[in-house]
Each structure stands twice: as structure tokens, then as C-alpha cells.
């Protein structure tokens, strides 16, 4: 068992950062802990630098249990970017609404670590550990506002349903192990055989369990509640990170491990994608709470991303990765606005966003841009992302293309309702909302990134392409 530690520098750095933050929080007196958020932020930026620098550093450890390839590095960068944006955009919110707790930051870092491990998982144990590290950290974060019954309740629901889905995934994994006799994903791919009933049942379990994690319909019940109850930055990280990590695992498991029975799961995934798009978008329409609206919208987004998985081709995976990355900016942007606004007016109701454009023009604009990016309106990033996703299913699943595009236009309807309130209505109170510079910078980053990726997606597409080739050497 020889460890090549240079391969996992990113992971080690994240661990050390998380523990350091934790220990510092324990050691420092409570009045000097204010800078801990900044410390975590700085650390994550350094880790991000390490991750980017390790782009061409590839290999596998422990006999394939831990894979470091460009696919995983791509996702690592994604998670780190998301974590940085979330922390940066919510420094003030956390201070005002969550309290001056050092655990918050270290838990965010550990959740990130869990995602990183998930993306790199080469076998079922690593996968499960990463998944649970992330889930448990998220439960803590969701229930972080212990003085707020809603937050606790959300945490409660999240852990019950996440625990259940983990159990379902595990059962699926155990059956796959039973059918193939190995838990190394790449070996599974070689030993998969058609017609094994164990494998079929395991497959269904895996689809159901991971469907839970990515909140695809009909396994989505938890997400609106949890999204609404959780502290908003956590919601944003949950929507971005946990979903992207689950997709990373989904791709790794299905495309990397079970390509042999592609026909069996392609239709399952296609149906899941279709139902998610339809239900997510339609149920979002009557929502009056912005976080619930975004929750349903993110269900629909999960549906879009699933489309890229249906064909299990390089182009499809590339689409998934591209979309996941741009989704980071759109979602973090939108949720940062929600958090900042909540911090000022103590409300998440859409009606209270009246006239936001006059009180906080930047926030309203970013909200607009992010929502439209999710809807796939050019020249925003979402459009290009959908183009990449849907172009893979034109041959063979044309109905999915119709459904997806029409549904994304339907989604414009409810996004525009938010826009309507923000832009048309006169605010009850004309005082400008001072968001603070960190929020503004985060919003600007989200705005610029969404526009940039929409107008000039070439470089990211190329990177995603290289990463997707990890599966097709």
C-alpha cells in the first residue's frame, strides 16, 4: 500500500484547512473569531489554486479505490468555486442570521471535502464515505439555526430522507457487489453481465437513491422543504454542491461502472429527466416563497442535467459537466441575493421583493440574469448549457428535446413573475438596501461569469471535454 501523497494534495489541503479552522475556533476566544470566515475563505482559495495546478496530475490510489483524473479535478474545482462563492457572499448573513459560530465554516469545508471525495471515488466504500460526509455536514448546516424551528425541522426532514436514500443506494451497491463480486467501479464495468436479476434490482435502487440526492421527481419531496428551512447560503450550497456531487457520482457509477447495461438504465434516466422537468417547472408556478420557487426550479434543473446522462456518450457527459458548472454561478447568484435581501427585510416572500430594482439595482439585475440563465435564455450561460445537453439526445430521444425546451420556456413564466415583482412594483420603502461589498462582489462574479460563459463558452467547453474523456480513453 504505497501512498502517492502528491496525488491528493487537494484533499489533504482541504482536510488540514477544515481541521485548522475547527481548532482555531476552539482555541480563539469568541470575540476574535470574526476573522475565521475570512480565514476559511482564504484557505479555500489557496486550495482552489492547488486543485487547478494539479490539473494534469493523474493517477489512482489503493488499487483503484481513489481516482484522480481530470473528471474528478473538474468537479473539485467546481465544488471549491461554489464553496468560495457561498462563503464570500454570505459572510454578513452568517454573522447576522446564523451567529458567530466557527463550526459553520469548518462544516462547510468538510461538506466540500465530502463532495471532493465523491467525485474521486473509485469504489463503493469511498463513494459512500464521501456521500455521507457531505450529507452529514449538510444536515448540520441545514439545522444550524437552532433557534429557528423551521431550520431544525428542515434538518430533521433532510436527515430522515437522506438517511433513507443512503440506505437505498447502499442496498443497490450491495446488490451490484453481489452480482459482480467487486466494489471497484472499473472492475464492475468489466464484470457486468446482462440479465442478472441482482444487477437489475440494484440498478433500480441506485437510480432511486441517487435520484433522491439530485432531487429528481418522484424523489424530490424533501427538497422544497429543506431548501426553504435551511439558512439561505446553505440552501445555495446544497443546491449547487450536493447536486453536482451527486451527478458526479451518478456519471461515475453509471457511465464508468455500468455501461454494459446501458439499455437498461437509459430509459429509466430519460423518464426521470422528463418527469423532473415537467413537475419541477409546473409546480414552481404557484409558489409564493422565493426559496421554494428556486427549489422547484432546481428540481427542473436536475431534470435537464439528467438528459445529458441518457446517452452515456462523451458529449453527454461534457454537457452534464458544463451545465453543472454554469449552474453554480446562476444558483449561487440567485441565492446570494435571497440571503442578502433576507438579511435586510427578514422575508423570503416574493411579494416582499417589490421594487427591488429601485432599492438594490445590482441585486435585482443579478437575480434577473441568474433566473434567465436557469431558464436558458441567451446570451446567458444556461442557453449554451442546454444546447450541449439536448444536442446529445436528438438521435433517439427527440421527444425529450421537445419536452425539455418547451418546459424551459414554461419556466420563463414563473421566473418572470419574480422579475415582474422586482421591476414593476413600487417598493413600499424606498431606502436603498446596502448589501455590503462582499455580497456585491459575489454578485458581480456571478453576473460576469454567467454572461461570459454564455457569450464565450469555448474554453470551459474544451476543459469539460478533456475531463469527459476520462471515461473514454
Amino acid at each position: 500500500m504505497n501512498f502517492d501523497f502528491s496525488l491528493i494534495t487537494t484533499e489533504l489541503a482541504t482536510v488540514i484547512l477544515g481541521l485548522t479552522t475547527f481548532v482555531l475556533g476552539l482555541v480563539l476566544p469568541s470575540n476574535s473569531r470574526k476573522g475565521l470566515g475570512n480565514f476559511a475563505l482564504l484557505g479555500l482559495i489557496i486550495v482552489l489554486g492547488i486543485a487547478i495546478a494539479s490539473w494534469s496530475n493523474q493517477g489512482e490510489m489503493l488499487g483503484g479505490m481513489y481516482l484522480v483524473d481530470q473528471y474528478s479535478i473538474f468537479f473539485k474545482i467546481l465544488f471549491l468555486v461554489a464553496a468560495i462563492l457561498v462563503i464570500f457572499g454570505s459572510l454578513r448573513y452568517v454573522n447576522d442570521q446564523v451567529g458567530n459560530h466557527f463550526e459553520y465554516y469548518s462544516t462547510v469545508i468538510f461538506a466540500t471535502l465530502g463532495m471532493i471525495v465523491m467525485a474521486s471515488a473509485g469504489d463503493f466504500i469511498t463513494l459512500y464515505l464521501g456521500l455521507e460526509l457531505m450529507t452529514i455536514s449538510f444536515v448540520v448546516l441545514v439545522a444550524f439555526r437552532t433557534f429557528d424551528g423551521k431550520s431544525l425541522e428542515a434538518g430533521m426532514k433532510y436527515i430522515l430522507l437522506a438517511g433513507m436514500s443512503s440506505a437505498v443506494i447502499l442496498y443497490g451497491l450491495s446488490l451490484v457487489y453481489g452480482a459482480t463480486g467487486t466494489i471497484i467501479i472499473s472492475e464492475v464495468a468489466q464484470r457486468v453481465s446482462e440479465g442478472s436479476p441482482l444487477l437489475t434490482v440494484g440498478l433500480v435502487m441506485l437510480v432511486a437513491g441517487l435520484g433522491f440526492k439530485v432531487s429528481a421527481v418522484p424523489f424530490h419531496m424533501w427538497s422544497p422543504d429543506v431548501y426553504e428551512g435551511a439558512p439561505t447560503p446553505v440552501t445555495s450550497f446544497l443546491a449547487v454542491g450536493s447536486k453536482a456531487a451527486s451527478f458526479a457520482v451518478l456519471v461515475r457509477l453509471f457511465v464508468g461502472g455500468l455501461p454494459g447495461i446501458h439499455e437498461q438504465w437509459a430509459m429509466l434516466i430519460a423518464v426521470l429527466a422528463a418527469v423532473s422537468m415537467v413537475v419541477g417547472n409546473l409546480v414552481a408556478i404557484p409558489q409564493t416563497n422565493i426559496k421554494r420557487l428556486l427549489a422547484y426550479s432546481s428540481i427542473a434543473q436536475a431534470g435537464y442535467i439528467l438528459v445529458g446522462l441518457v446517452t452515456a456518450t462523451e458529449a453527454g457527459i461534457k454537457g452534464v459537466m458544463f451545465y453543472a458548472f454554469l449552474y453554480v454561478f446562476a444558483t449561487v447568484g440567485a441565492f446570494t441575493v435571497v440571503a442578502a435581501v433576507y438579511n435586510k427585510i427578514q422575508s423570503d416572500e416574493i411579494a416582499d421583493y417589490a421594487g427591488l430594482v429601485q432599492r438594490a439595482p445590482l441585486a435585482a439585475t443579478v437575480m434577473l440574469v441568474c433566473l434567465l440563465s436557469m431558464a436558458g435564455i441567451p446570451p446567458l450561460a444556461g442557453f449554451v448549457g442546454k444546447f450541449y445537453l439536448f444536442k446529445t439526445v436528438v438521435e433517439g430521444y427527440m421527444w425529450l428535446v421537445y419536452l425539455g425546451l418547451i418546459m424551459s420556456m414554461v419556466s420563463v413564466y414563473y421566473y418572470l413573475r419574480v422579475v415582474l415583482v422586482m421591476f414593476r412594483d413600487e417598493p413600499a420603502d424606498h431606502t436603498p438596501l446596502e448589501m455590503g461589498s462582499s455580497v456585491n462582489i459575489t454578485l458581480l462574479i456571478a453576473l460576469v461569469a454567467t454572461l461570459f460563459l454564455g457569450i464565450y463558452p469555448g474554453p470551459l467547453a474544451e476543459v469539460a471535454n478533456i475531463a469527459a474523456q476520462s471515461f473514454f480513453p
Binding site: 481541521l19 475547527f22 476552539l26 463550526e103
Partner: protein
């Protein structure tokens, strides 16, 4: 014969012993017809109010701490058994593991989870 069948035997007999004892006592013990006999004894006075009342949640907190630590111990024993083969690397890894455990304890301490409140 596997030693586990022996273990099963012990367990079964342990159950049978208890069951037999109680059963025997039911067969031989006297039965008085006192009206108050079947009342809850408690402390000798008539009981008041519901019994399954709220109790301190602190009890649960200890249970929680226990569950977490107890399960982590699973890893300590195998390590202790194969201490010699694992050598320095094993030692360091396990100390990192224990360090994280200690962090947890430290945190619980600091948060006041160990106080009887």
C-alpha cells in the same frame, strides 16, 4: 463444531434459565386477593399524574456522545491487535484518527454538552 454454536447454546440456555425461573415462580407462588396489590407501588403512596413524563434531554445527549464514540472504537481494536504489523505509519494514522475523536470531545466539552444541565 463451531464455537458459535456454543455461544448460541449459552444464550439460549441463559434465556431458558430466566424464563424457567419466572415460570416456576408463577406456578408456585401464592396469590393474594388484595385489592391494592395491583396498584403501582411507586413510593408507597397513591400515584399522581402520568408516568411517562418528560425527562431531561441531557440523558439523550450522553447517549449521543456514546453512540458516536463507541462506534469509532471499532477501529481502535483491530488497530491495537495488529499494532506490530502496521508500524509507524499505522501509529501515525491512528493518532490522527484519535486526534479527530479528541477534537470531537473537546468540542462537546466546550459547547457544554458534558455538563449536567
Amino acid at each position: 463444531m463451531s464455537e458459535w454454536i456454543g455461544v448460541a447454546l449459552f444464550i439460549v440456555v441463559g434465556f431458558a434459565f430466566g424464563a424457567g425461573g419466572i415460570l416456576a415462580s408463577f406456578l408456585i407462588h401464592p396469590r393474594s386477593q388484595n385489592r391494592y396489590k395491583l396498584e403501582t407501588y411507586e413510593c408507597g403512596l397513591p400515584t399522581e399524574g402520568p408516568t411517562w413524563v418528560q425527562f431531561k434531554t441531557q440523558y439523550f445527549t450522553y447517549a449521543l456522545l456514546f453512540v458516536i464514540f463507541d462506534v469509532e472504537v471499532i477501529y481502535l481494536y483491530p488497530w491495537a491487535v495488529s499494532f506490530e504489523e502496521l508500524g509507524l505509519a499505522g501509529l501515525i494514522k491512528m493518532f490522527i484518527f484519535i486526534f479527530i475523536l479528541v477534537l470531537g470531545l473537546w468540542y462537546a466539552w466546550k459547547e457544554g454538552a458534558l455538563e449536567w444541565r
